[in-house]
Symmetry: C2
Subunit: 545 residues, 2 copies
């Protein structure tokens, strides 16, 4: 069996699926000097030069079968990077500096413990690899103090069992989002976890990175969906009890979730499932301002009335949404009519989605609409909602198309309590714009609010920009650092749902303190005494990573 | 300022509040040979003989002020035990073998870090003490390898701040349940955390023990109410970010919650609050059997329709509820009328409670009633519900009255997924009964289901019994061990909401595995390198406790 090669080796998704730039978007980018005159060279697999793979002990191939040890150029390239902007720029420019010596894909979960034992004894670094969709360097082949490194592809871990009475399911780590949903749908259930990476990200990765999906308001974040979890570490296995709750000590489940591969490998886990929704209804609304839209979502969250999906785009993101919709498309037309009617120059797009039984959807919708109206929002209708649903996984394809043209696109996100939102939003956006200007980047900074809670919400920023005078690989880290510093100053978290990976690790002490680092390092010392698991991730480089 | 002495030194609650045994209960206990002919001697503070307190370094009194260092007999006795059956039997019989050398009550949170530093340097064990209501030996003065031990009473930590926009509050660890609710009520809010220990247990203790209240179906467990938490450990302070969620690594919040004092002291924490409910409505219903009642609650949990409170008593608990209600009281009369009407010999009492706005209560109630009717339950009415609300904190007082008469009363609880509930219930009850018989204990074993979730629920067992041929202090540990072994065999957790303490620690490896122990020990090594914090709790005695 070979490794999956059904995606672009140089980036996101099905290579046959090519996103078209809307004429409105293209002219907007020209006006704002975002679109370079000359497109970069197309990516070339052959142009990537890797060091020859270091030889691995025969015991590994003996254990997993030599057919499951892959050392070919393409497989190594495909496991050398995730999906961050820098990853994509490096893949496209052929500037990869690191790749695993081999990609090993165990045929079953039983092989993982002996494999980690060999790697621990031999001093071989192990990077667990699910869908490879990390945008924070979570699967980067960082060797740390080791000469050899393998990427451990979990694609064969496809366990699936359902307990209909408890409404739980056991899912293998290697199942991609649509695969897990497909298996559950055949039993009448849904997991309800739909991050933008849904199409290629895996169950194991959702748990390891403490993921949150676009429908987290209704279905909950991934951590809240996990009822039990298993971890195979170099020191042995840690398996949490399948109980809805336990008061026995610190939560081991919450220690494994978010561990980002540094303690061991998650081969499978138990999740809470729900009946597949009978009705799905999505609508677009428009609020007077980002602030007004956020207040509406806050009032819904604090009265226990959140819909399944709730998102508010700021004025910039709303403007881009309208400009890039086809001229005859619903959002653009409706929005322009609305603006004309109201004699106003802007507004804030709101998407609300309702899923459940007919009765649940009616009830959710009644409460939501009442809050929207009370907050001064105006209905754009279901066609806008349907457009959002249709395009919900389309962003990464659009990014590929923009990168093809030399435009850089990246996202970053945070979360905080409601009382800090205005300053967090304002200061982060200002820091990004200022850093972009200093790097000669011309572009758009836009934001939306999603993942709302009674006490706060997430803010998600998107940058669409020219690469700047020194090129995206040089300029983006400067912009990203400025954004993170602003987020930290405003008290926000480094990430609401992108995790830590390699890229946020240097800021970890600022988030959880030196003692938090000690706590994680203490756990790692017991579970991975040789430190082979995913070096350089989560813990800052100076600590045993 | 002196330590609080507003409770029985030998047990629960206000000494002026004396529970009366219902005539029906008394005759039931006589019939079943539960009630000994001779009542034990009343407790006597003077009869308790303690070793003289070991002297402590002057630096402690210099730091906290000598007026906050208490070494008197009563204060030491009051901090020598919690509220488990064995604690109460030892206090009543004067057989205490351990007490702290001093009770230290810091005037403010700022004193804790330097205090722990002194204790760490001097080798003095520290037992954090909130309400002292642990039923698993969580505040027992276990010295471990130390010659000296202090009880750290957190009664002065009374911080209170509200963030109305984010609907969160900062609460000091020393606030008792009613104190915190009182402060919040003045601002129009509620926390909604009402465990049976509510009247005396403290905010810090709720967090340290991963507590769950009777209204957890509606308001959530305490861990889900905590938005941020602070820990002062001998190595320094760990403070989690006040964000509704973060994907940065394992959850530090979930590492501190449930840490039972072994990493450090929780001085205060942030909680999510809700508007105080406008309406509270409680009702009693009766199902054909425990099984039928549980199915009703499961259907509500799995359709997202749980009321604020949902409890189902098994047939034994229902029988006792009826027998011990006053003859003219509502539950007894209604239940008897119901039995007569149906020509049946038993049934299962259900309590459902609804809190919120008028609209929320109407909606919750409509869904609940529909499920109750569909499940064949019959309404007993609001008087039964009001009776339950009135008596919800009365159990510990009743236990004192029964102990006065020589009857032993103890509770234990667990949780599991729904598919395992029937076997967990049957096997645990059978193990308790069999162990009681082998100890010559004659009594009643009864159970209720509460804390329901989509995937499972908690089962709460109560034993009311004669002390047995060898006395409760000898016989109860045998019964408890048999119950725990049965729970473990059936796959249930050691505790849904009573925590680990000293009493469950020997079974910890069975619950979280050797690797789970290593993980906790690894964290402790970093945060409490000298191991002074709450020795002998949570981690089994052989590990650095």
């Amino acid at each position: 069996m070979g490794l999956r090669r059904d995606t672009r080796w140089w980036g996101w998704g099905d290579p046959e699926e090519v996103a078209a730039l809307a004429p409105g978007g293209e002219s907007m980018m020209r006006e704002r000097e975002i679109l370079p005159d000359v497109a970069p060279e197309p990516p070339s697999l052959e142009s990537i030069s890797l060091l020859p793979p270091a030889p691995l002990p025969d015991s590994l191939a003996d254990l997993v079968g030599s057919e499951n040890v892959h050392t070919g150029h393409e497989d190594r390239v495909r496991h050398a990077a995730g999906q961050s902007l820098l990853d994509l720029l490096r893949l496209r420019s052929g500037e990869l500096d690191q790749a695993p010596d081999a990609v090993i894909e165990p045929a079953s979960a039983e092989t993982i413990a002996p494999l980690l034992e060999i790697c621990s004894n031999e001093g071989i670094a192990v990077v667990p690899f699910g869908g490879g969709t990390s945008v924070v360097g979570g699967v980067a082949p960082v060797r740390g103090r080791f000469d050899r490194l393998i990427s451990l592809d979990l694609g064969n871990l496809r366990r699936f069992e359902v307990d209909r009475v408890s409404m739980t399911a056991r899912l293998g780590a290697g199942l991609r989002g649509p695969e897990a949903e497909g298996l559950l749908a055949a039993e009448g259930f849904t997991l309800g976890h739909f991050p933008q990476s849904f199409e290629y990200a895996t169950i194991g990765g959702f748990a390891a990175t403490r993921s949150a999906g676009q429908a987290s308001c209704g279905y909950g974040r991934f951590d809240s969906l996990v009822s039990s979890v298993r971890l195979v570490s170099p020191s042995g296995e840690l398996s949490t009890l399948a109980t809805p709750h336990s008061s026995i000590g610190p939560s081991m489940r919450e220690l494994i979730i978010g561990s980002e591969g540094i303690f061991g490998v998650i081969p499978d886990l138990g999740v809470r499932v729900r009946p597949a929704p009978e009705v799905r209804r999505y609508e677009g609304w428009i609020a007077e301002s980002f602030d007004a839209g956020n207040s509406i979502i806050r009032s819904l969250a604090q009265s226990g009335g959140l819909p399944t999906v709730a998102r508010v785009s700021d004025e910039q993101e709303t403007e881009v949404s309208v400009a890039t919709s086809t001229p005859s498309g619903p959002a653009g037309a409706l929005f322009r009519r609305y603006l004309k009617l109201r004699g106003r120059s802007g507004g804030s797009l709101i998407i609300v989605g309702f899923e459940g039984t007919g009765e649940e959807v009616r009830r959710q919708r009644a409460r939501t609409i009442s809050a929207l109206r009370k907050g001064g929002a105006i209905r754009l209708g279901q066609s806008v909602g349907r457009g959002w649903v249709k395009g919900r996984y389309h962003g990464p394809y659009l990014r590929e198309a923009l990168l093809d043209r030399g435009v850089v696109v990246e996202t970053l996100e945070t979360a905080h309590q409601w009382s800090a939102h205005a300053s967090l939003y304002g200061e982060t956006a200002a820091a990004i714009r200022s850093a972009m200007a200093s790097c000669g980047m011309k572009g758009i900074v836009m934001c939306h609010l999603s993942h709302a809670y009674p006490d706060g919400a997430s803010l998600y920023f998107t940058v669409i920009s020219s690469p700047g005078s020194s090129g995206g690989i040089v300029s983006w880290p400067i912009v990203k650092s400025a954004a993170v510093e602003a987020i930290r100053r405003a008290g926000g978290t480094l990430s609401h749902h992108h995790a830590t990976g390699r890229d946020h690790a240097p800021w970890l002490a600022g988030e959880i303190g030196e003692l938090g680092l000690e706590a994680i390092a203490g756990v790692k010392a017991g579970l991975d005494p040789e430190g082979i698991m995913n070096p350089g991730k989560l813990l800052p480089p100076l600590l045993p990573g």
